[in-house]
């Protein structure tokens, strides 16, 4: 009699155990290789978000609470490997949904796999317009358009006194930076600024002496650089050693990240940049409280301050979870439709995608002052004073 009850109880338990399914998100991220220093932010962000959501009960699929599992692979900063890994995630591991890699050129290639298999991918790593120019329906991105990266910066530049008149535009030859340059050219023309130098350089360039000499000889008031962190680091160091000190310079990468500022030390001061996200208390979130609490908890866990890459990664996870709950199912097409209608406040800001699948958030212009990132301008007024014009190198502290 006891045995029969025991059997029945055991069967019931195992039935519920089988019933508690998990939703699996798959991603291939650069954990090693030349772009690993930014790629690893995505692993940390995805894990952080998923752990937090699971701790709060997981994702509600219809009537059932399910936990989220993450299958993360290291693509060693190799685009071809990342494509193979996304294929593996879909065909062998049979994950439910996909999270993206870092970098536009990776997203460009990997998103085609997702689209072909009709599986939604939400990515926070690629901003290039090329990603969204193909009419794909299953790809959504939490990084705002590359063409607008310098938007708020150029707006702010026009409000400075005396306003810079001549601009040098430098950009690397990869998908994201070429997109940024294309958009920036239009913005500069509309703002009536004169472009005295418009130069493309090879990705991973280490020597900027010629470009810097040209900037000095053309007397550019402002320098805008769209490139990668290693290039920007070399640019700033060589600007110092060649005594090239434009009144203003702004970079698409590096400025928001901690290890960049650490590597440059005091030489980082004065550099401007932009970020779509700052850890402010005004960004409220269902799971994290607000962005400031999120940043504190993140730093406590991983030992470094999160920047917009990490926040965009967390936003990607939240967007997927939100869409699954809205769709009430794990059906790829239902979730895809729910993603298209996404509209909610999160630790990253308002997550909503335009008809091409890209988020639209304004870039906040920032500047490094006294080793700290200071928000300067976000479209309304100057939140803090911009250090401008930058003093020549020998006069800086």
């Amino acid at each position: 009699m006891m045995l029969r009850y025991l059997f029945f109880a055991a069967a019931l338990c195992s039935a519920t155990a089988v019933g508690a399914q998990t939703v699996t998100f798959g991603a291939s991220v650069q954990l090693t290789g030349p772009v690993a220093n930014t790629g690893r932010y995505y692993k940390d962000a995805y894990e952080f978000a998923i752990d937090k959501i699971n701790a709060a009960g997981g994702v509600k699929v219809g009537a059932q609470q399910q936990k989220i599992a993450l299958k993360l692979l290291d693509n060693q900063s190799d685009v071809n490997l990342s494509v193979r890994q996304y294929t593996q995630l879909l065909t062998q591991d049979k994950v439910n949904f996909l999270l993206g890699p870092f970098a536009s050129n990776f997203v460009l290639a990997d998103s085609s796999i997702a689209e072909k298999s009709s599986v939604p991918m939400v990515q926070g790593g690629g901003a290039s317009d090329e990603i969204y120019a193909r009419g794909y329906k299953y790809i959504f991105g939490t990084l705002p358009p590359a063409t607008d990266y310098f938007g708020s910066t150029i707006e702010a530049m026009q409000k400075l006194n005396p306003a810079p008149k001549t601009v040098a535009l430098l950009y690397a030859d990869d998908s994201f930076d070429v997109s940024v340059a294309k958009g920036t050219r239009d913005l500069l023309k509309k703002a009536g600024l004169k472009t005295v130098l418009d130069e493309r350089y090879s990705t991973n360039a280490t020597d900027f002496s010629v470009l810097l000499s040209q900037i000095k000889s053309n007397n550019a008031d402002a320098v805008l650089v769209a490139g990668h962190e290693t290039e920007v680091l070399n640019f700033i160091r060589q600007a110092k050693s060649l005594n090239v000190s434009p009144k203003f310079y702004s970079f698409t990468v590096g400025v928001p990240s901690e290890d960049f500022r650490k590597a440059l030390g005091k030489d980082a001061n004065g550099a401007s940049g932009m970020t779509a996200w700052l850890p402010s208390t005004s960004l409220k979130d269902k799971w994290f409280g607000d962005a400031e609490q999120f940043a504190k908890a993140y730093k406590a866990k991983f030992g470094y301050d999160p920047d917009y890459h990490a926040a965009a990664g967390v936003a990607a996870v939240e967007a997927l979870v939100n869409a699954i709950e809205a769709a009430g199912s794990l059906d790829a097409n239902k979730v895809r439709d729910a993603l298209a209608k996404t509209n909610f406040e999160s630790v990253y800001g308002r997550i909503a995608f335009n008809e091409k699948g890209q988020i639209n958030l304004p870039q906040i212009m920032i500047q490094i002052q006294n080793d700290k990132v200071v928000p300067i301008y976000a479209g309304k007024g100057f939140e803090n004073k911009l250090e401008y014009p930058l003093p020549p190198w020998d006069k800086r502290q």
Binding site: P34, E199, Y201, D207, S209, K216, Q238, S241, D267, W393
Partner: protein, 287 residues
């Protein structure tokens, strides 16, 4: 300031760094016939050693350079005695493969040990410069240039006038005869590779002061060193100076007149021209 003058000066100084980069590779290649694909990884290791001596022990990078050289000498000696010695008399393809494997292992060990964060060796004088005839000259790059020329000439004198140097050249020319004269090939090979690695280490320390360090800087540096060594010619250690200067100046002028995006086209274009017209390199013997 004449833009052309400034660009030429930058090109020459860049050439100095290039020459130093290629010196270790050219020595090992010219003498031991080993194409060391892990050369860039050794430069990377040297950069990290100097970086940690600078940040950990607060040693000025230029004072840390000799220590870095000794550390990398030991690393190179061990690699040669422990691994390369077994394939050194075999087909060259085997050494290519093994040194490639060493490069991969060293790079990933560095990633594990140091993470992908960039570092930069940033002494107080890192950005120092002086003006001469309207041209701004970065101090550290001048020193790099001087170190490059100095070490290359020292290497040349070492190979020509010291007993060990003659032993190295003898082993390269005719191993049997050298052994009859009492040269121990195992020791000589390991010594040469050690010297090549020490030179790579010094390059790394200086590179970290003018650029930045991460575990992946090795690959492109090996490729560049390769090109410079071929352009200059392997027969004469002074060849790397010529190769480095030619490349530095050609790249800079290309960037100025055609655009920065064509730099690599220009450098590998020069390489192709040299291979077609003077395959032994600009300083190589034509017979």
């Amino acid at each position: 300031m004449s833009l052309l003058a400034q660009v030429l000066v930058s090109g020459v100084l860049l050439g100095g760094l290039y020459a130093l980069m290629a010196l270790g590779l050219a020595l090992v290649w010219g003498v031991l016939n080993i194409v060391n694909l892990s050369h860039g990884a050794l430069i990377m290791l040297g950069a990290y050693v100097t970086y940690f001596l600078f940040t950990g022990a607060h040693l000025d990078p230029f004072i840390a350079l000799p220590i870095t050289a000794v550390v990398l000498f030991v690393v190179g000696y061990v690699i040669e005695r422990g691994i390369l010695n077994y394939v050194i008399r075999g087909p060259m393809f085997n050494t290519l493969l093994i040194t490639f494997g060493i490069e991969v292992v060293l790079t990933y060990l560095a990633q594990l040990a140091f993470s992908a964060d960039f570092r930069a060796i940033n002494p107080s004088y890192a950005g120092a410069n002086f003006a001469l005839a309207g041209v701004t000259i970065p101090l550290v790059q001048v020193v790099v240039f001087a170190v490059a020329i100095g070490l290359t000439i020292a290497m040349w004198l070492f190979l020509l006038h010291t007993r060990i140097g003659r032993g190295i050249r003898a082993s390269a020319q005719n191993l049997v005869a050298a052994r009859l004269y009492g040269v121990d090939p195992k020791r000589i090979y390991a010594l040469t590779f050690g010297i090549g690695s020490a030179l790579a280490g010094v390059t790394g320390g200086l590179y970290g002061t003018v650029s930045q360090i991460n575990p992946y800087i090795g690959g492109p540096l090996t490729a560049k060193s390769f090109a410079i060594a071929i352009i200059g010619g392997l027969d004469n250690p002074l060849g790397v100076i010529v190769g480095g200067l030619v490349l530095g100046v050609v790249e800079s002028l290309t960037a100025l007149y055609f655009g920065s995006t064509y730099r690599d086209v220009a450098s590998f274009g020069v390489l192709l021209l040299v291979l077609i017209l003077r395959p032994k390199g600009l300083l190589g013997r034509t017979t």
